[in-house]
């Protein structure tokens, strides 16, 4: 696997992130009244209650809260113990019936993706192009040409109805697509060819996590899947009307060590995903929201200690 690394990024977002974290700690409107310890392992939000009940490997949900960012879009922030390790997770639940859509974004909002860019900057460029953005996460794995300082996205990629990449690599099992009729789906990239004229947006992931309601039990056992690492993943409910964007922090002992991929699959199932795929993780995992003042804030704590430029991303926009 090829990783993007060693790229400089912008310090101001980290400072911003701290400020916003502090801000949200104080303004989160959680369902604090439920205090029955033991029930749902201490989880208070409906999402985490469902996850905690389903997932044996979660010992306790130490803290969870959720708030509505805009109509149809709920953000949940959680601290839990998983396999005795502290874990920090951010989830965006998007009701796709509420005039919201999940679409792709690129560096500088351009159609050429060879130089990565940090997520908040990609989102600023998408706004400049007229999109009203609420939330964003990093996207597909990136490959790097061995002798050139240029990158490419590993899986198929479509933005604003334009097919920017039509090929994918073996092993890449999931593709998130939005059709021109507004419907969102998760398909296998091999099925793209047949529907490509109807596709408005498409971005790939690597491993399939949940497929037609079944957890992927055929996950390879290797360094990517078996390490406790930061993760980004996307899921859809059975009726494809609800989309989930997840980011789990990792590689930071004492704060959050991250998750193995087979357990990520279990978590997706527990959260109510009928289909879900794994996106680029590690130092690339980024979870950004637009706050009330209109600025973009990184909520999670990227494991490189700074934002890593990424090749593309998924953003939630108001239609």
């Amino acid at each position: 696997m090829i990783r993007i690394n060693d790229l400089k990024s912008n310090k101001k977002y980290i400072t911003l992130w701290y400020v916003v974290c502090m801000l949200f700690l104080s303004c989160s409107s959680s369902s604090d009244e439920v205090m029955v310890s033991g029930l749902h392992k201490g989880a208070k939000t409906p999402l985490m209650q469902s996850v905690a009940d389903y997932m044996d490997k979660i010992q306790v949900v130490e803290k969870d809260s959720s708030y509505q960012l805009t109509e149809g879009l709920t953000i949940t922030e959680v601290n839990f113990r998983y396999l005795t390790r502290p874990t920090r997770m951010f989830v965006a639940e998007i009701d796709l019936d509420k005039n919201l859509s999940v679409v792709t974004c690129t560096p500088n909002n351009e159609n050429i993706q060879d130089q990565p860019q940090v997520m908040p900057e990609q989102m600023i460029w998408a706004e400049k192009a007229g999109k009203d953005i609420c939330v964003g996460v990093n996207g597909d794995f990136a490959g790097k040409y061995t002798d050139k300082n240029k990158f490419f996205t590993m899986n198929i990629f479509v933005k604003d109805g334009q097919i920017l990449k039509e090929t994918y690599y073996p092993g890449y099992e999931g593709l998130f697509v939005v059709l021109k009729n507004g419907e969102s789906k998760i398909i296998h990239p091999k099925d793209f060819e047949g529907i490509k004229d109807d596709v408005l947006e498409a971005m790939g992931g690597y491993h399939s996590l949940v497929r037609d309601g079944e957890e992927n039990k055929e996950m390879p056992v290797d360094d990517i899947t078996m390490q406790f690492g930061p993760r980004t993943f996307v899921g859809l409910s059975k009726d494809n009307k609800k989309c989930f964007l997840f980011v789990i922090d990792g590689r930071q002992e004492g704060y959050s060590s991250g998750m193995r991929l087979e357990d990520v699959a279990t978590l997706c199932k527990g959260a109510g995903c009928y289909n879900a795929i794994n996106l680029d993780g590690g130092g690339s995992s980024t979870f950004v929201i637009k706050d009330r003042t209109g600025s973009f804030n990184v909520l999670n704590k990227p494991s490189d200690g700074q934002l890593r430029p990424v090749i593309n991303g998924l953003v939630v926009i108001k239609k």
């Binding site: 690394n5 056992v221 360094d223 990517i224 078996m226 930071q252 590690g282 494991s303 490189d304």
Partner: protein, 589 residues
């Protein structure tokens, strides 16, 4: 009237050409101006550009990728991780492009050597920095030769119309001679070591000895001419660097129990008598690494094959014949009473051992932890958490510094990387000597390395045959086959996870024999793992008939198929299509 207009236009055009087109650009420095004004500092800065690409050490600061120094051994039979290494399995396909086929360094060095005499810097400075440039040019060519074999040798800066852009490859004999000419110049020009992070005469001597040993054995094991002469040069050059005037010695500052381990986790190597060249890291100026944060999370594991080579310290014999060790005696017991470099290289699953490293941690007053997780497949519990993980069961501790792990932020690793060290000089002296039938000076070389870790049995000039080593290296050319095999054992152990093993296997032509073997890990000891855990590994990962973990047996669908062609890489297809004179490609490609 019209003619005046023509005249005016003509004059204007002439003026334009006079006044502007010949003017030097105001915002960049031209070649001519640079060299005419380059003082000593400018020449030094010129040289600095080549340090990051050649003195690699733990790699670029602030990079998540593992240290190249350590991970280079994944491409060998020393170190295993989650996926099978394509190159060590002989499964790499023909490269279309190849980052190693890049000529920026050579071109930059040639530009320096063509022009530096025009610089107003002092004669001393010019000499010194020309020495550095010769050193870098030699190193870059050596790296290319190891990968591609024959290469075009360039001694000048090519311009875009130069016919030499389409020249043929020169033979590796010419390349070696030319590399050695560069190194002799570097040795002549460079001062002795004063700053361990800078290239010195000492470093140039070591590089020369390394090149001579590499090429000397490469040719010897392929029946090519010139091997004796090169091996003699390796022997003499290593001998030169062993003279007291160079001031090198093995580092023994922490006793036999810890010196070897501590050698690799020092914040700075200035004044350390063993280090000949190092790369600096300093998080205070945003130039840290995270080797120690990465180890406990990585799946790296020492191969069983390598583990077995560490001798028994009670008898001085290999563990297959010593009588006091056997694979079924228990995971921990088998690590005890061995050459102490073993426990200073891998983590020991004993909370009371100074070598437990990251396998244990204090939690609520109790020491918790134990043997490592395998492939991270086990969940662990509050009572029995897993703090390390490995695909073989042997977690690596070499280069791990505890204070740079728990609770630290990203990229706060401050230990420098030992890129060249004196132990290699001793190993070159011993190996070249033994190959030639000259005195390997065992007391000063191999036995000095053994004494550092308190190993009380010396290697003698006529050791008994170890059946294991004899099967690994059946074809030895030198007179005393067993002595050479023992020196190879010593080299593997001493230089583990420092990126030497692949080169060694290639030059000894041992890859076909060794890299096609099944990769193995430890036997899972029921004292450390539950029956359920052992079953899970049996199902998902696999054991061989003797009970050793076979990390790739079930998950990897292919078997290694390393052949003669895999000792070299192909010339990238993009390059041969631009310059067909580079063909024929290397044999087999």
């Amino acid at each position: 009237m019209k003619k005046y207009i023509y005249l005016l236009t003509y004059i204007t055009l002439t003026m334009i050409s006079c006044n502007y087109l010949d003017v030097e650009p105001g915002d960049t420095i031209t070649d001519t101006r640079f060299w005419a004004t380059a003082n000593g500092v400018a020449l030094e800065q010129y040289c600095h550009t080549y340090y990051p690409s050649l003195v690699i050490g733990h790699g670029n600061p602030n990079s998540w990728d593992g240290s190249p120094l350590i991970t280079a051994d994944l491409q060998s039979d020393n170190l295993l991780s989650g996926g099978a290494n394509q190159i060590a399995f002989g499964k790499n396909v023909k490269n279309h492009t190849d980052g190693a086929w890049s000529w920026g360094v050579i071109r930059g060095c040639n530009a320096f050597l063509e022009n530096y005499m025009r610089s107003p810097a002092s004669a001393n400075d010019k000499r010194h920095y020309a020495g550095e440039i010769y050193f870098f040019k030699a190193w870059d060519y050596f790296n290319k030769m190891k990968r591609f074999g024959d290469l075009p040798w360039y001694d000048k800066v090519l311009d875009k119309n130069d016919p030499d852009l389409y020249k043929k490859r020169d033979s590796r004999v010419l390349i070696t001679d030319s590399i050695l000419m560069c190194l002799d110049r570097a040795i002549e020009y460079l001062p002795k070591q004063t700053d361990v992070c800078k290239v010195s005469k000492n470093a140039a001597l070591l590089l020369k000895a390394r090149v001579c040993l590499y090429e000397g054995t490469w040719r010897r094991y392929r029946d090519m001419e010139g091997d004796e002469e090169l091996l003699k040069k390796a022997y003499d050059t290593a001998g030169e660097l062993m003279k007291t005037e160079y001031g090198h010695n093995l580092y023994t500052g922490n006793g036999t129990e810890m010196s070897y381990f501590n050698l690799f986790i020092q914040d700075h190597y200035q004044g350390n008598p063993e280090i000949i060249l190092s790369r600096e890291y300093d998080p205070a100026i945003n130039m840290g690494h995270q080797i120690s944060r990465q180890y406990p999370m990585s799946n790296y594991g020492m191969s069983r094959d390598c583990f077995e080579e560490y001798l028994c310290s009670r008898t001085g014999k290999p563990i297959s014949v010593c009588g006091c060790h056997n694979p079924h005696m228990g995971y921990l017991s088998e690590m005890m009473d061995r050459d102490r470099r073993l426990v200073q290289t891998i983590c020991v699953p004993d909370p009371n051992s100074p070598h437990a490293q990251y396998l244990y941690r204090k939690d609520g007053g109790l020491m918790k932890g134990g043997a490592p997780n395998i492939f991270n497949l086990f969940d662990g519990t509050n009572e029995r958490p897993f703090y390390g993980t490995s695909v073989t069961g042997y977690c690596i501790s070499k280069f791990y510094k505890a204070s740079e792990w728990e609770g630290t932020e990203a990229f706060k690793g401050t230990t420098d990387a030992p890129v060249m060290r004196y132990a290699e000089v001793l190993l070159i002296r011993a190996e070249a000597g033994a190959e030639l039938g000259l005195d390997p000076e065992l007391d000063k070389t191999i036995n000095a390395l053994r004494r550092r870790v308190g190993f009380s049995f010396d290697l003698t000039a006529n050791p008994v045959e170890d059946p294991d080593l004899a099967s690994k290296y059946p074809d030895i050319k030198g007179a005393d086959k067993n002595l050479i095999r023992e020196i190879r054992r010593e080299r593997r152990i001493e230089l583990f996870a420092e990126g030497y093993r692949w080169d060694d296997l290639c030059r000894w032509r041992a890859g076909v024999n060794l890299l096609n073997r099944e990769r193995r890990g430890a036997i899972m000891d029921s004292k450390f793992y539950s029956a359920k855990e052992i079953n899970m590994i049996r199902e998902k990962i696999g054991f061989d008939e003797d009970g050793f973990i076979t990390p790739y047996a079930i998950r990897v669908t292919y078997k290694p198929s390393f052949t003669e062609k895999n000792y070299l890489f192909n010339i990238p297809i993009e390059e041969t299509s631009l310059n067909p004179n580079l063909l024929p490609d290397n044999p087999g490609w």
